[in-house]
Symmetry: C2
Subunit: 189 residues, 2 copies
DNA sequence: GTCTATAGAGGGATAGAC
DNA sequence: GTCTATCCCTCTATAGAC
């Protein structure tokens, strides 16, 4: 993971990884079989560690605004999920690894969203499972954008924050507005 | 672009490209100087061609729903922008190419959004420039997700469509609800 | 488990004939 | 402009000593 973070997933080779680890190149094949399997193992390990480390934090998220704030703390820490997803386009083995790592995150997000939406006017706007995927897509896209243009990532995050704030503001509206929103949501389905 | 589409950006080499073109490998260096410069040139050409081909279609987009529908027609056609963005993480030269291609798309989106928002209750929710970046991030993220899980891409697109439909529905509300929304938006800024 | 050594392949880039 | 031929590099993976 250190070599991926520093030089990108394209620079990962048995030699570069071994050099960072201070061991011999042949050990990669002894322990993992191939370089790709090493990468898969690294991501599996990383994903499990990250999820475990943030589960407590996610449990305390009870509003959309808090979810965005939580995502902001993750920026930079999830360093190489977008490169992995892009590499998956070419390599089906990496694709499986990416899918598994993403599925774990999406499941966590879905649990949080289900909890938040249950008490919101926006409940019923979309299936929580679909919504979780959309939220993941938005954050991944922002991170992807940030790779070439950090200011664009800021913009995207700011807008997501604004949308969350608006959603929270809608929950604070009076009964007339809430009824109108409920009806509008029902019609959009 | 054909080799990138088929085998991924990682499989691009002077030899593979030359083979697809039916010419000699050395010509890559004669015409482009290096493989990276060839890739940059290919993306610059592709981006210009795509934008030009869709500018007329974008000019006819006058609602958020139509924008989502337009984006749906683009799926699969913008084949390798996400791999390029991911590769940009490693290679600054590709990063410049990706930034330029993205900037063109974002400018187009911003023009459309500015037009749409001017007639919407949601005007003032966010700066159109920021909003355009967020929209681009959402679509890129959905495409990225689709690379490993096509169903997840469908989910993300469905939710984006729902949000657009809700936004349109809000514009059809009566004066009481509109005033409440305006006030809520003002407060979230 | 860790190392050296090496086979075998692919790739970037250049020289020089035509 | 297009080709052949070639240099030199890095890479994956294996064999085999320790």
């Amino acid at each position: 993971m250190a070599t991926i973070r520093e030089h990108g997933i394209g620079a990962v080779s048995a030699r570069t990884v071994a050099a960072v680890a201070g061991v011999n190149q042949a050990l990669v094949f002894y322990h993992f079989g191939s370089v790709r399997e090493l990468v898969v193992a690294a991501f599996r390990d990383e994903a499990a560690r990250q999820i475990a480390g943030h589960r407590a934090g996610l449990a305390e998220v009870t509003s959309l605004g808090a979810l965005v704030a939580f995502a902001a703390t993750l920026r930079g820490e999830s360093p190489a999920l977008t490169p992995l997803l892009a590499a998956a386009h070419t390599d089906p083995l990496l694709g499986e690894a990416a899918k598994a790592a993403l599925a774990e995150w999406i499941a966590e997000i879905e649990a949080v969203l289900t909890r938040i939406l249950a008490a919101s006017v926006l409940d019923g706007l979309a299936d929580p499972a679909d919504l979780a995927r959309a939220v993941a897509a938005a954050f991944l896209g922002a991170e992807l954008l940030g790779g070439v243009d950090p200011l664009a990532e800021e913009s995207a995050f700011a807008v997501i924050g604004n949308l969350a704030a608006l959603a929270q503001a809608l929950d604070g509206q009076g009964p007339v507005v809430r009824r109108a929103l409920k009806a509008a949501i029902k019609r959009t389905r």
